[in-house]
């Protein structure tokens, strides 16, 4: 069992700069064996938490990407029909009774495990990432809730499969749809906000070790200023990193040297036409002028 300081340290080692609060949430996730629901705007690093967590516990990461129309066949299990058909054909001549035939083709040999089943049948507890749960239908959400509280899955042809290990579950949501109260209650909750200046600076310096300290500070300050504006799609951490990498490539050492070039490289940060239009040259100049 790992305590909070240990998790915090290992998150850093895994390359994920986290607040202490998040380390505590992850510690509770593992000790209380409850799933953790992480909400926040796109691009604040929700999915990265799961990746980092799998490094912290040194265990495999199983990812289930949700989408509209996701059903049990693609999330829990599926029978390998081709093999079943072949097997039926091959054993045709042997004259087995139908009951025997059925037992044979619905044995584990022909079972294809999808993420949820995979996660509960691992010998060691893995990290299960249920990404963008809000995109899945309500029915799937209800089913998932059942799996997450009982940690068992019943397959009509095989019987009930109990978890051999309780996975560490992280769910992420972008809030495109309201999640059910039941699911929210079942989960621990963490709201991941845009990072503070210090945190984002550490992230940039960590990912781009060669960047000059002055440039990285300016970049982060600029992006933080941008987030204050009323944009349609605020730039996330990934965008900051992209932009920083682009500026390093362009051999820019200070943002205030060449506002025009800054304006040209903003494609890394602003992903919609409205936002690009909203950020006119004077706005860019004003933001740059305010930099320290």
């Amino acid at each position: 069992m790992t305590g909070e300081p240990e998790i915090h340290k290992r998150l850093e080692q895994a390359g994920y700069i986290a607040d202490r609060d998040l380390a505590i949430a992850l510690m509770l996730l593992s000790r209380l064996q409850r799933p953790l629901l992480v909400e926040g705007d796109a691009g604040v690093g929700k999915t990265e938490i799961a990746k980092a967590l799998s490094k912290v516990f040194d265990c495999p990461l199983i990812r289930l990407q949700c989408y509209e129309g996701l059903d049990a066949n693609s999330s829990v299990y599926e029978w390998n029909y081709q093999h079943q058909l072949l097997s039926i054909k091959i054993r045709e001549t042997e004259g087995n009774p139908a009951g025997e035939q059925e037992r044979h083709i619905f044995s584990e040999k022909y079972l294809l495990k999808r993420p949820l089943l995979q996660a509960i049948t691992m010998p060691e507890p893995p990290v299960l990432l249920v990404d963008e749960i809000d995109r899945a239908d309500e029915e799937f959400e209800a089913y998932l809730l059942e799996v997450l509280s009982d940690f068992q899955i019943s397959i009509p042809e095989l019987g009930t499969i109990r978890a051999s290990s309780i996975p560490r579950v992280i769910l992420t949501s972008n809030g495109t749809r309201d999640l059910s109260d039941a699911l929210r209650r079942r989960c621990l909750y963490y709201y991941l906000d845009y990072p503070t200046f210090d945190k984002e600076l550490r992230i940039v310096n960590r990912h781009l070790p060669d960047i000059s300290r002055q440039l990285s500070a300016q970049i982060v300050e600029f992006v933080q200023g941008l987030r204050e504006m009323d944009l349609r799609k605020k730039p996330g951490i990934a965008e900051t990193l992209d932009w920083a990498a682009a500026l390093v490539r362009l051999d820019i050492s200070r943002l205030d040297n060449d506002p025009q070039q800054i304006a040209d490289s903003l494609v890394c940060l602003l992903k919609t036409r409205e936002d690009r239009n909203a950020l006119t040259d004077d706005v860019v100049e004003r933001l740059v002028a305010n930099l320290g």
């Binding site: 035939q101 495109t176 621990l188 909750y189 709201y191």
Partner: protein
Amino acid sequence: MNVDPFNATTHPAAADVLVRRIIEFTRLTRDNGFRAGIEEELDALRVAQHCGLLEQGSLRPGLRTLLCADRQEWQRFDALYETYWYGTNRASQVKASRSARLGRQDALGDQSGGGRVMETDRPQTGTAGENDAGAARSGASHRQVSGKADFRFLTDAQQLREMENLVERLARRMRRQLCRRQRLSHTGRRIHIRHSIRNSLRYGGTPLELVFRQRRRQLPRLVLLLDVSRSMSLYSYLFLRFARGIIGAFGDAEAFVFHTRLVSVTEALRERDIHRMKQKLVVLSAGWSGGTRIGECLAQFNRQHAGRMQQARTVVMIMSDGFDTGTPAFLATQLEHIKKRARRLVWLNPLLGREGYEPLAGGMQAALPWIDVFAPAHNLESLQALEARLMN
């Protein structure tokens, strides 16, 4: 450091007080609308144990991650926590409760300071739960009464609020029903292998009985254009709530309002908190309830937004009475453009529900040839009838 505060043999009194205080705090959050039940009370104790009570500042994030379930709660938590544990004077924001009181006859509990939550703004009758149930019941009965009533006759504020909620819920239900209808169909083009194999067993493996899978029909992508000019003012707020329900239920729907120019309100309507939504709308609404230039606004829509529409899926819904200050011919051209880009063009006209109304207004006349569905939208029933017309 390694002192276990719950160890009853070494600190019997302290352990007891701590357990009480933590449970009391959990109940306080519940009385403030958090989703914390018995299970959470027990888990709160475990959280305290794991976080190490004596370690500065780790109980708060631990309890926060356990007890909060959405963003609003996440933001309110700190105020509650401080009020309870440090006795900060924020009582007005916190709803105290009698059920949270476990009685503190023991001296230690009283000395611990803080936690003296004022009994303010507590409803005198019944608990919050009972009130909710009551509201739901009266809502249901009102639905029967007012399904046929024209929205413009809703005058008292209470009724109007109920209607707003109903309209929004109706929009959300629409999506569920569209989904369900797809699944109930029986014929199809692709074989459902799983079921077919299952059925083949009784014939020794020969697939005699085939089962078909219905191709999943895609839900329409809705684009709502709401007229908010003065002539529509009796209806526009309800239509906005309807749009909010649609936006909440269909992930990719978009909504615009127009009077003399077109403004996108998709983001504002996506705001979960209704008061913040209203604030955002107020900011966007400069110049509302003025005259209407439908043609101009649709032209703006065609220029800026129509390019993103996928023809096969998009259903454009215009909610307007058709009173236009522009020329009818221009409006017709713009509608023709929209019609080319969308699978279906729906025009909802609240006036159509009035007796004796004929779409004679110049704009409306010119628009009719391009409209697939021309329907009334003056009461709940007419909105309900829409759902069937969206799919086929």
